[in-house]
């Protein structure tokens, strides 16, 4: 159950990364111009999401290991 929750949050973080990347790319390619602060926010949001995914996947791994040990 808890592993499923981790997976959902990881997927949401991935979506957030993709969205921010699209935003930055559109700005670079000149489709539209964004305020510098928004771009900076998007970049830091990507970094935060990456960190969150790392932490969450570490936790998920631990839970899976414990689950495997318990079932054995």
């Amino acid at each position: 159950m808890i592993i499923n929750h981790f997976e959902t949050i990881i997927n949401q973080e991935m979506e957030s990364i993709q969205l921010n990347i699209k935003l930055i790319r559109a700005n670079i390619q000149g489709h539209f111009t964004l305020n510098k602060i928004i771009v900076r926010d998007a970049r830091s949001s990507i970094d935060q999401s990456k960190q969150a995914i790392k932490t969450l996947s570490g936790l998920k791994y631990k839970y899976e290991e414990t689950l495997e040990l318990n079932t054995k």
């Binding site: 997927n11 990364i17 790319r25 390619q29 990456k50 995914i53 996947s57």
Partner: protein, 459 residues
Amino acid sequence: MKAPYDRLKENAKFQIELLSYLINDASLYIKSIDIIRPEMFTDKNRLIFDAFVCLIRENKKPDITNISRKANITLDEVMEIGAYFSGASTGIDSLLYELYQFMACEKYMRLAQFLSNQVIAGTESEIIKEYVVKELRSLDFGSSSNVVTMEEGISRVYKIIENNRKSVNCTGSPVGLSVVDKHMGGLQKGDLIILAGEISHAKTALALSMMYNSAVLFGEKCGIISHEMTVEQLTARISSLCTRISAKHILTGKLSDDEVKIFGSKTSGLIKSNLIIQDYIKRELSDTLASIRLMVLQYGIRWVVVENAGNIDVKGIKNNDEARTAEISKSLKSIALELNITVILISHLNRDVKGGKQKQPELNRLKHSGQLEADADVVMFIYRPELHGYETFNEADSDDIIESTENRCKVYIAKGRNYGLVKTFPQFDPHTLYISDHIMKESEIFFNPNNNFDDNKPF
């Protein structure tokens, strides 16, 4: 100055973008399994793709954490690929097209190199031809593009004959229904069977009874994709067959302590069986086909029930039921042949426009018929004359038996490619909706040790 076009670099971009699509939506892989090839990916991308496929086969979720662990690649790198977006493609189809073109170009160049090397070395032309043809055929979509000579065809038929001689009666998958087991020798691979009947004439009950017998009593692997019922409803109906408690009572009534005990003890066989139910999917033909592929890939099912033809939509075909039904039957027949399984498609009937008591349905009443009838190997009807006020079977059809119609139904084959026509009158239990007339003994189905045939030497 604009940078020159780099084919390899561009291809690497496409590879990563395709992987990104797959990681974020694994169902895309099953939908395009015919086109996606491992050869499309190189280096690290190939490792990630292999890990992705491996996880799907093991029935594990192919997310970034599992992929990074399986492929032995750092989470950062997989994350980078998962979040990649080049903006160069408009969708997975254009990506696949580009990658396929690149893969084909590479193959042609390798073949040209191979040809010049072999010609210089003086290799026999037959050997070169064989290799080139094999390589070119690998570029075709699907696995059904092989040409077989008569020698190979006859040897395959011999194999079937020898295997059939080992089993006494049933050469395909047994289902506990004499019309299938005795007459057709079980469900045969590659067949599309249309199961049709009027509303509330127990079409689904017949399909579920067949599944229960096949999976629980004979240990076969089978699956069902229903666009009408939930997993709970289907499971309750199947479990009512073994517990003898009606599905309605299981789902809506209050079960007594004794009934709960019976439910617990009688469903143990069902739990261990290989009966697979598809959870909710979109009512799209492509999703249905993807689900069948996944069932075969992960669970190795031998036959599948699809319920029902009227509920499946086909992309690009609207307001034309005939074209839609034709597309469904064509696709299901081709997937049955490609995956070597049996597909049973449940279909409704058109209303009988004639007045008076309704007669038993015929082929012309198949809903949006034509192609459906032509593609099917077997068209099987189920008919319950008691619902139309007939007391004996011969009242409905003068050729039928003079027996009471109470709690009985008529199952008959109206089209039987390779099997001919036949009719039976099995029992129908209105309490559990169980239909059965013939349960084969184990000795009738499985290998008889007294017959000593060698599999490897058919001649």
